[in-house]
Amino acid sequence: MNLLVGLTSKVKRLSILCLAALMMGCASLPAGVEPSPHDPWESFNRPIFEFNEVLDAYVLKPVVAGYRFVLPEFVREGIYNFFSNYNDIYTALQNMLQGKPDFAFNDLMRVVVNTTFGLGGLIDMATPGGLEKHKEDWGQTFGVWGVPAGPYVVLPFFGPSNVRDTFGTVADLESDYFFKYINPVGLRNSLTGLRVVNSRNTYYEAGDLLDGAAIDKYSFMRDAYIQRRQYQINEGRDDEEPTMPPYQNPYE
């Protein structure tokens, strides 16, 4: 019951945020952009995307730059490993829910090894030991269960998503029990901040590369997101086909 109430309040909060972002940018597509069948809400998504870009450029990225300047690499690595180890608990649960017990067992062993030998998760001993890292979330689990992705959505703050993964993100936040019950609130907030900075830090350099490689960053990110989620959902399945997009090449 508690979970349900929390969930609805979070959905409410999210939808208010979406609305606010919608009103900020008046919806229109750049001339000549062909609508994508996966993205019927592009005219709403683009302003939110721009909002996220500005937020990233003026707030998050400078903070991460400072983080990289202040902390030596091995400390950042330890922080990364700590959160990664924590997430592995959830990945194990998600893999159980997705009917992949072998993956779940692997993930659980990772947590055991890294929490003990890896000093509470600060060092990743499991990967060199041959226990592969996986990453699963509710959105992927819903996908494995057959829930269709729905139209592409850009969430304020959270970035690229779709209808299914929006519910997935809400469920991820909601089932984040260890973090939710950390007391006092000050510690919890600092840890959440560190977590956000850490996850932005993992693609600090890659983000710059993407800026250089993109012709239109919005559609680049969208098309990449759609492909990547499909890839992640198919991952580790027995019937997994090499995910080949159908190439129609009429020039040969």
Partner: protein, 213 residues
């Protein structure tokens, strides 16, 4: 006795030849696709790790490395053609070769930037799942170390000059697919000439940009 001598001579030459081939690890037309990827990747990673200039982000030097060690095993014309889709036929032969060149340079720049960030990563090569007479295969690898593992797959086609890479999948995203809409949007806004110019400008801008690290 004489024939025995000749036999040993042949044997020694053969052994030298084979071991030479093994140690130099230069792929040729007969190299299997997974072996080809393994040789090229291993070679490039060793070169990057052995060169402090590259690790400091000396982009011209990395570009040179990529041109020499990777580009010969790719088919950039096919890559560009695929990314262009139906617009490819609307381009003049001159525009086509311009597009291939500029797109190639853009990808080389991006790839070089990624290479300069290589430190202690290792690459895991997955076993190839393909039939012997396949003309197209996907070779799967995973880059481990520093952050989340990065799946990196290569799509190759068999040509009369051996296997050539024409598409790459980074973390679940096929390159050609990711550029297709971007290309067609740019073309419907500014025409094929506009896309050529956009790529030229971007490459010039990237060439003058300061190294990231």
């Amino acid at each position: 006795m004489k024939s025995f001598n000749k036999f040993t001579q042949c044997l020694v030459t053969a052994v030298l030849f084979i071991s030479g081939g093994v140690f130099a690890q230069i792929p040729d037309q007969a190299t299997a696709p997974d072996a080809l990827i393994k040789m090229v990747v291993t070679d490039v990673m060793a070169s990057v790790k052995a060169d402090p200039d590259i690790q400091k982000g000396n982009i011209p030097k990395i570009v040179e490395l990529v041109e020499k060690k990777i580009v010969p095993y790719t088919d950039m014309r096919r890559t560009t053609e695929m990314a262009m889709g139906p617009n490819w036929k609307k381009a003049t032969p001159e525009q086509q070769s311009q597009l291939v060149m500029e797109f190639k340079n853009l990808l080389i720049r991006t790839y070089s930037g990624a290479l300069s960030q290589l430190r202690d990563q290792t690459v895991q090569f997955k076993s190839l799942r393909a039939a012997p007479d396949d003309k197209e295969v996907v070779v799967k690898t995973v880059v481990l170390g520093r952050g989340d593992p990065v799946p990196l797959d290569y799509r190759l086609e068999k040509t009369d000059k051996g296997w050539k890479v024409y598409d790459m999948n980074i973390m679940g995203v096929w390159l050609v697919e990711a550029y297709r809409n971007q290309f067609s949007n740019q073309i419907s806004q500014n025409g094929i000439e506009g896309l050529v110019k956009f790529l030229q400008d971007r490459n010039k801008q990237l060439a003058t940009a300061k190294p990231a690290n």
